[in-house]
Amino acid sequence: MTIECLILGAGQEVGKSCVVVKVGGKSIMFDCGMHMGYLDHRRYPDFSLISQSGDFSSVISCIVITHFHLDHVGALPYFTEVCGYNGPIFMTYPTKALAPLMLEDYRKVMVERRGEDEQFSYEHIIKCMKKVTALDLKQTVNVDKDLQIRAYYAGHVLGAAMIYAKVGDSTMVYTGDYNMTPDRHLGAAQIERLQLDLLITESTYATTIRDSKYARETEFLKVVHNCIARGGKVLIPTFALGRAQELCLLLDEYWERMNLKVPIYFSAGLTIQANMYYKMLISWTSQKIKDTYATHNAFDFKHVRPFERSFINASGPCVLFATPGMISGGFSLEVFKQWAPAEINLVTLPGYCVAGTIGHKLMSGKPTRIDLDKDTHIDVRCQIHQLSFSPHTDAKGIMDLVGLLSPQHVILVHGEKPKMALLRGRIQTELGIQCYDPANNETVSIPTNRTVKIDATKAFIKSYSVTNFDVLSTRLVGFTDSNHADVEILPTLGEKKAAEGILLMDKTKRAKIVCENELLLNLGVEEHSLRLAYCCPVHMDCLEQTSYQSTSGSSIGFEKGNSSPAAATSPECQPERSTCILGKCSLLTTLLRRLESQIWCKNIEENPNYLKLKSIKIHSCSKNTCPYRTKDESGGRFTLYFCCSWSPVDQDLAWKLITIMKGTNTSLVQDTCTMEEEMPKN
């Protein structure tokens, strides 16, 4: 299975964000924006690449819009009302509330001021927004059985979201625009550590590490303060939403702090309406504003009052917020005409202005005269200040996010080509994640993990789901020579042991994983066990050399501090004991002593009739004609026989024990084979 990612916009550029991701039979469109820099067909994404026939509703499963900026939502009414897409559309509550204002404002500028043919009408916007389902943060929406989406806080503007989408087992996040540092009215982006196949992230500041916003805010306040201190008027042409509220918060707070009395005005139409949205959507703002809204809503500005037309030529300093933002006409143009010729006045401009507007002319160079039409012109003598509060994350933020999410693949969009290439290189080398920066209308194919759903029996789950606390008490068996340093290889805690089971694959049913004993039940068969056995001769003269302590049982095994097995060989010999006829039990004990002197291990179980280590059992064999003795290996010495049996899994260990028992143990000196050993039952 692959994820196919078609970049319809914002590929190696900024503008008309639109990505269509196709996976597992579903297609999700992330954002549906317009390009503000073009006026021809290039302003909209090339939707014909999605479907030649124009039947978009059956091809696209859903559209998700990240935030209300036009380069993310601008083409939506066109796509739904003109192109005829009829399926589900999702966006957050603030986006749903604010996007229509944004769209209508743009439509008005385009149609009424510039006399263009309209691409969509006001009715189109209204109809389009009716089809939108509003999302809350972190709300998990099942669009259909296999498609799940969820919004995370992105910080960029009010209601901006990063979108997590899951189709079957394939997961992805589309970030939209985001900001990793909190600002005056919005918090920082927040997302969980998700296991992702794909991350599509913006990269506006792919290479810049930004200085603090604080410096730029201070600069803005200084410029404004200087202007009003000289008795000048400040015109802040701004769109009603977002920037206006942010600057207003900034100024309101500054006024409070500096105890300024100069009036701040909001032009009509901008005041109550826009602030009302912010007051209702307060839970989407920064923590500080949220914490205090019950007693004082930060968007009830103390120093702000409505503006009246007669104030335009009133004397004395003031600050005025006026729409539209790019001085493309309307009230802000009217005021601009009056204030621009005076040197003491100040006009601030937003970061981006559409070509053809006065704002754009002011930004490109410093014109002294602007011609409105044949007869009217404005002499511009006032100061111009350009705002540069960009609520995008910087390169560090992008790297942090990619690092946090650690997806399998990253696609960069919404940035400048050369910088994106640099960032792509960093992501690949520093984070080791496959990264792409496709151009518009390119498709990136990404392989995903194949996942199969199977059943597991309760017994299987039980044996592995509980954290294995035994790990702590697990001991090791190591073959040691007399003066070797212990090799302790304890598995680190938390590293669970691998689960083992048997997968049953039936053509008609879902595959099922079972434990070994369940397999036999399932098949209706009985186990047929295989054991290996050998009747091992042990020379008594060897036994004589091996000392043992008959006095107490407590000396069996070695204490941890006394871990050098050499200690066991030092106690005095008791030769008179070794000559007497030993009982079965003491024979085994003697053998145990010997084994323990050769291997560092206290896990050998001592039972009355046999010794046991893992599956290996050792009996003493008293039958003189044991059929499993191969030939007489006594060599004339006093020889006892021990019958050993084991299952094939412990073969190596068994043969090593036999070698020790036979007394030809010198070969074991270099052997440091170690293995995990289960706790003895007693």
């Binding site: 053509k507 070994e516 036999l520 009985e526 186990e527």
Partner: protein, 675 residues
């Protein structure tokens, strides 16, 4: 899974409380307080009823909850603001360490309600002075209890005095703050994952802003906790039943059903206390909808029938006209209703009526939290009904009270003796204030001021024992209107709802046994108070995801007789987000070093033949005397000596030669079925 119903509750303000043992976790559903029991205490007013207990009140918690070890409670789930009032009692226990989940809106409202409770309670402390006794208060002593009238004693002690232990002195504001820190609040529809195993998700229940039903999904359980729900509400987002579809198990915990049918309700579900208004009661359509013929559309239609909202607005209209009548006569109106949504809906409606009849009567809202609640309600559009959300999208205030405050028609005051209140105060007026049990808050004082005024009106909710609540306010000349507002699913809608949700098993309160007859599409069990119900498992196996399937490098072995393929599988076992995952291990153990599992019988001739092919020679002998159907022995003579003994269950290879043994083992695996 086990379910223990700790309490069936007392109506909306004291919802049912359950303890659930699910997937090895202990989940407490709701932690309410029974504030109606507070009526046994005498309010702080002159000439109060002598029978009532004159002391600083204690508060009645869920009795059976004290029997559970708080340290063993893993999870607490809260679905309405009223259901969390008992939480600080739990969280202030130092050995409680469970996680508490509730929706953000419930947490905010609940927190305010607790703070309000604490500040209203302070009045008692001021009156009686600080409590210096340790241990039980005086009224709890046996002699004192014996003196109590029977009704009061029943409330205090329950049957056999078993409820005496559930009384607690109220928590402090600090306890509330600490409690709030321990709650994890969730946004609308947010999924929370507990211990990687349980996935919790809330869906609106329509009862109140933020109140929710819960879906708890574990590895083998899809569990729905259905609390009191309202399909369509005039303020909160309606009951989102659609998202609950497809879960196997439903705990039906909406106990409002019986309540609405109790007692002789009059028109619009309201009754006028002390007076008898003879009007035709609304005919209830209890006859359940035929389950077999209903298609899905029919079911949805039936569920969304507007009769509830119509009835509700009829009821509100009736209340408004009563209010208007009283005001016209020159009497004041006191509305101590606790349900925040209803209060605001009433406020808007009454205002409309006042506007229409051109009356200028001041409306007061007196409560320490009124300002915060109002601010909050206008900033939580995500939890409101569709009509109010549309207001957001068109940029209008979500509730009408913003306008009213601006136009100085509604006044908010924290307490009765606020300094500005006396300047504005005029009667007749309309007052919304707590508390519905008439023992706390400004309602007590206003009632003692107005209770002799026959022109004034008191509006109470159904579920409050009016007789008891009004006991200290004798002689009562004031009109009292007691109304029941919808607080849950109507009986007739239970059946279609369950048809739509398609559960396999439903757990009902035993009280509903006689009132419902069920379809056969699902089984149902009944739970009763203080008994543990063992709920059978519906799924035998766990679902596991085999991640990166191809990396497991399975070596399947085909069993032709069983039509099966089997393969050994080794993987790292993980639990993440409620899913069991098996991922390939980095360094898989070599298959050959593992114990082989063999089954069936071994044919000695076949084995010898296979050995011969590898250059090993031997002879077969047969010993009939051995147990288990005799033993075949193969004596290997070349290249070395060895003996192979085969019986029906076991094969033993005796050999001194390590290499020979290995070859024989290998040959054995080729003739015996195994893996």
């Amino acid at each position: 899974m086990k379910l223990t119903c700790l309490s069936m509750g007392h109506g909306l303000y004291c919802p049912p409380c359950h303890m659930l043992e699910l997937c090895g976790f202990r989940v407490l559903l709701e932690c309410p307080l029974d504030l109606s029991a507070l009526t046994v205490f005498s309010p702080v007013i002159p000439n109060s009823a002598p029978d009532l207990i004159g002391a600083v009140p204690w508060y009645k918690t869920v009795k059976s909850l004290h029997l559970w070890d708080p340290s063993l409670i893993d999870l607490v789930i809260i679905s309405t603001p009223y259901a969390m009032l008992g939480l600080p009692f739990l969280t202030c226990l130092h050995d409680f360490s469970g996680k508490i989940y509730a929706t953000e809106a419930v947490v905010r409202i609940g927190c305010l309600m607790m703070e309000d409770l604490v500040s209203m309670h302070a009045e008692y402390n001021q009156f009686y002075g600080p409590d210096e006794r340790s241990g039980c208060p005086g009224w709890m002593e046996w002699e004192e209890l014996e003196k109590l009238p029977l009704e009061l004693r029943d409330i205090v002690m329950g049957k056999d005095g078993e409820e005496l232990g559930s009384w607690m002195p109220l928590y402090s504001a600090t306890d509330v703050k600490e409690c709030m820190l321990k709650i994890h609040s969730l946004r609308y529809g947010e999924e929370a994952c507990y211990n990687s195993t349980l996935i919790l998700k809330s869906f609106s229940s329509g009862l109140e802003i933020g109140s929710s039903n819960w879906m708890i999904n574990g590895p083998r359980r899809n569990f729905t906790y259905l609390s009191s729900s309202i399909f369509k509400s005039a303020h909160a987002m309606g009951f989102d039943y659609y998202s609950l579809r497809g879960n196997d198990l439903i705990l039906f915990s909406d106990l409002s059903v019986e309540m609405t049918h109790d007692g002789p309700n009059d028109a619009y579900g309201c009754k006028i206390y002390n007076e008898t208004v003879v009007e035709d009661p609304l005919p209830y359509h209890i006859s359940a909808v035929g389950a077999n013929c209903a298609s899905e559309q029919d079911l949805v239609k039936c569920l969304l029938e507007n009769d509830e909202i119509l009835e509700e607005s009829d009821k509100i209209a009736f209340i408004c006209s009563c209010v208007l009548d009283s005001l016209n006569e020159g009497g004041s109106v006191l509305i101590p209703i606790g349900r925040i949504g209803i209060v605001h809906f009433l406020l808007e409606k009454i205002w409309q009526y006042l506007e229409l009849s051109n009356m200028m009567v001041p409306i007061f809202m007196i409560s320490t939290i009124s300002e915060e609640i109002l601010a909050f309600m206008n900033a939580m559009p995500e939890w409101l009904c569709e009509e109010r959300q549309l207001k957001l999208f068109s940029g209008e205030p979500l509730f009408g009270h913003i306008e009213l405050i601006k136009e100085k028609k509604l006044y908010l005051f924290p307490v009765l003796n606020s300094s500005n209140l006396s300047m504005i105060w005029q009667e007749p007026c309309l007052v919304f204030c707590p508390h519905w049990n008439l023992r706390l808050g400004p309602a007590v004082h206003l009632l003692s001021r107005w209770h002799k005024d026959h022109k004034s009106l008191l509006i109470l909710e159904e579920g409050v024992d009016a007789e008891m609540a009004l006991l200290p306010f004798k002689t009562l000349s004031m009109k009292v209107l007691q109304c029941s507002f919808f607080a849950g699913i109507k009986l007739k809608k239970i059946q279609p709802l369950l048809e739509l949700l398609q559960p396999k098993l439903v757990l009902f309160p035993d009280r509903l046994k006689s009132q419902l007859n069920f379809s056969k599409n699902y089984t149902h069990l009944y739970y009763s108070e203080n008994s543990t119900l063992r709920v059978p498992c519906l799924k035998e196996d766990f679902e596991v995801r085999l991640m990166r399937y191809l990396d497991f490098k399975l070596q399947p072995r085909i069993l032709p007789h069983e039509n099966l393929a089997i393969a050994r599988l080794e993987g790292q076992f993980l639990v993440s987000n409620g899913n069991h995952l098996l991922v390939p291990v980095k360094n898989p153990t070599h298959i050959s070093s593992k114990q082989q599992l063999n089954w069936g019988s071994v044919d000695p001739d076949l084995l010898l033949q296979a050995l011969k092919d590898k250059g090993i020679d031997g002879l077969i002998s047969y010993d009939e005397t051995a147990p288990c159907h005799g033993v075949h022995s193969i004596h290997i003579s070349a290249p070395d000596e060895a003996v192979i003994e085969i019986d029906s269950k076991q094969t033993v290879i005796f050999a001194a030669n390590e290499n020979l043994t290995a070859v024989i083992c290998e040959t054995f695996s080729s003739v015996c079925s195994g893996i």
